[in-house]
């Protein structure tokens, strides 16, 4: 068993109304960042976990996302990084 640090991004699925993202985009426009086209607000989780291999850690965190961390109705997740500790 080795220890890994796994980072996960969870974002609203495109097409789902994201009022937080819209509010942030409006605020950025108000600050003069007129080049901003779109903002989505999601969550970033960092999980330390034990696994036999990097792939096994990735697979288990995928299961965690499917069962709890992401809402399958409205959110997508991606494993951003897996780092051996």
């Amino acid at each position: 068993m080795s220890r890994f640090r796994v980072a996960v991004h969870i974002v609203p699925r495109s097409g789902v109304l994201d009022p937080q993202g819209k509010a942030v985009a409006d605020a950025l426009h108000a600050l003069g960042f007129s080049e901003v086209q779109d903002v989505h607000v999601g969550r970033h989780l960092v999980i330390q976990t034990d696994a036999d291999s990097e792939n096994a850690a990735r697979e288990r965190v995928g299961e965690m996302c499917a069962r709890l961390l992401a809402n399958p109705v409205t959110e997508d997740f991606e494993i951003a990084s897996v780092e051996a500790l």
């Binding site: 937080q20 969550r43 809402n71």
Partner: protein, 230 residues
């Protein structure tokens, strides 16, 4: 008839639910703790409003794995009644006992006000003391009440008359101005396909006393008694 009201850490409408069931309806209520594995013989389970587990991760996402939810899921699978009010509705969606999910209000504001609901289906065991088209004055109090599902799910809900309550204007029209949270198709409450699990964002348990401005929630609870007597 015995009602069981579950208290999760962060529930804050459990007392209101007990008050509605006992003082207003005259039925028996038993308080259930989320860590127990015993429904204590309750025939109707109420998951009350509040902020279980501080709404961490997503409203209802963690409460859905509380120990007592195993028994609540079995209770529902046996076709027995389960009601989710506000946070309880969020928990039922997270538990996939009801389809769809409840997202942040489109206004990004916590909305705490009386709204008008139209009864869309009066043939459920939760609404048989209303008539279809009745307009009810019931309060809402939530930050995450925007009912959301894909079009296929929404169409199926409508076809099977699983949409029980809709937000409407005081004259009964389905308008966006009458919708406190941006819920798709102004949906305020739904039942599952078997008709024994109901979730709604508004609070009928807070509309059982003239003193508090409305008794329109009382027939909701009376319907359950009538369904058993029938």
């Amino acid at each position: 008839m015995k009602f069981g009201v579950v208290t999760f850490p962060g529930s804050n409408c459990d007392d209101d639910a007990v008050h509605a069931v006992t003082d207003a309806l005259g039925a028996e209520a038993v308080r259930l703790w989320h860590k127990d594995h015993d429904l204590q013989g309750a025939e109707v389970i109420i998951l009350p409003g509040g902020f279980s587990y501080g709404d961490y991760l997503r409203p209802g996402a963690i409460a859905r794995f509380s120990p007592i939810m195993q028994e609540v899921m079995e209770h529902a699978a046996q076709g027995r009644p389960v009601i989710g009010l506000c946070n309880g509705f969020q928990i039922l969606c997270e538990a996939q006992l009801l389809p769809g999910t409840l997202l942040r209000n489109d206004s990004l504001q916590f909305r705490n006000l009386p709204v008008t609901l139209r009864v869309e289906n009066a043939r459920t065991r939760f609404t048989n003391q209303y008539a279809r088209g009745d307009l009810l004055r019931i309060p809402v109090a939530h930050g995450d009440g925007r009912y959301t599902a894909d079009d296929h799910t929404l169409d199926a809900l409508e076809q099977r008359e699983q949409v029980v309550f809709r937000y409407v204007s005081t004259t009964g029209e389905q308008t966006s101005a009458a919708n406190p949270n941006g819920a798709m198709r102004n949906i305020a409450g739904i039942v599952n396909g078997a008709g024994n699990v109901l979730g709604m964002m508004p609070h009928p348990e807070r509309a059982v006393d003239e003193l508090l401005g409305s008794t329109d929630g009382l027939p909701f609870f009376e319907s359950l008694l009538a369904a058993v007597a029938a």
